[in-house]
Amino acid sequence: MITFSSTHLIYLIEAARWTLLLSVLAFIGGGILGLVLALGRVSEHKPLRWLSAAYIQIIQGTPLLVVLFLSYFGLSILGLDIPPIAAAGLSLTLYTSAFLGEIWRGCILSVPKTQWEASNCIGLSRAQQYRYVILPQAARIAIPPTVGFMVQIIKNTSITSIIGFVELARAGQIVNNSTFQPFITFVFVAIIYFAMCYPLSLASRHFERKLNVGK
């Protein structure tokens, strides 16, 4: 019988790189699309508001697993053969953007109306109001819930194992299947997840402090 060894640990850490890569894809793709959705949700144009609301409703009402199946198997049935990493990146982006879009919309709306008025009265265009006055204040409010959601995403990347990714959670299962030492195996899995999530909380606190200078 094989016992848990440094080889297994290295295997887990290597698998964690997938977790990390998928998370980064989700943050970048989801962050960009999420900002567009948040701005769409608070737009002056009704069709834009409606479209982004509909998108958010649909994605939020669909399990990530289903989004993933649709982008991987669904698209390949349509003749679009996309590599697993693209399918995973796409689904995580779609999923993350819907949630960040809704979180950020709330943050934008929580900037007092008087800030809009004051910046309007000094002549800023709407884009300038967002850039110089509204978004910087919304960002400060957005940090805690955004980081909270990012931590969820890091853990949710494990779902990509069903289309073949051996990321951290899947690697834990594989190691356990050969060592039959679930406790030690999953303690290490947990520690590695923690090592990825904890710096986010630290960064969050750092940025909050930095952005609170003017508050």
Partner: protein, 262 residues
Amino acid sequence: MSVNEAAGTRPRNEAVPGAEPIIVVDSVSKSFGPLQVLHGVSLEIERGTMVAIVGRSGSGKSTLLRCINALEEINGGTIKVCGHMVSMSDRASVKRLRSEVGMVFQSYNLFPHLNVLRNITLALTAVQKKSRADADAIAHKVLGLVGLADKAEAFPEQLSGGQAQRVAIARSLALSPKVLLFDEVTSALDPELTGEVLKVMEDLARDGMTMVLVTHEMAFARRVADIVVFMHQGKVWEAGPPAELFADPKTPELRQFLSSGL
């Protein structure tokens, strides 16, 4: 005139004869849903004068200021500022208005994430496209005017209410407006802090700035304003030089308002 001077007030500004008023409000009506707030308000404001609008809470004073500054769409009548029609739906008109009219609010509305200097320079660089150096020079100048030359690096939350309000005035002044609108700018302040803000406004009046202020500071309006306008239930009830208006109210409503000690 000599009475005013004896009382230590500035001489009243005289309107330039024949010149068009800088603001012309003509039969303006405004409703919020079913609630009609302004009922055919007409008002002319001459260049270089200070006009104080007084009246009970809810009489439509703020709404009138906000209509003049295109923050609310009017439902009837017309408003002209500096000879141009004000229309909220016409972007070019609003843009021109923004370059001509400054507004100061009761709650200061400084940008909390920017320091005092940046609060003032933001529109100078972003809207007027001035260089950072020019903008900074203007900001320092207007901060000097409101007596806060040493606060350029402070953040809004580090200021007292009176200081914050003076920064807000400086922020408007920096853009060299032709008219300044003040909506109860001392109402949120502790009584001992109102004086410093009123003093800045009085200085501006003396320098010939056109100002329209909604205020509850009756003594100030009486002493400094050229014209006092009494609004009641969404209408201009009486208007005239403060000495006349306060000494001899024509309507029972104004008499009652004045005697209620507001």
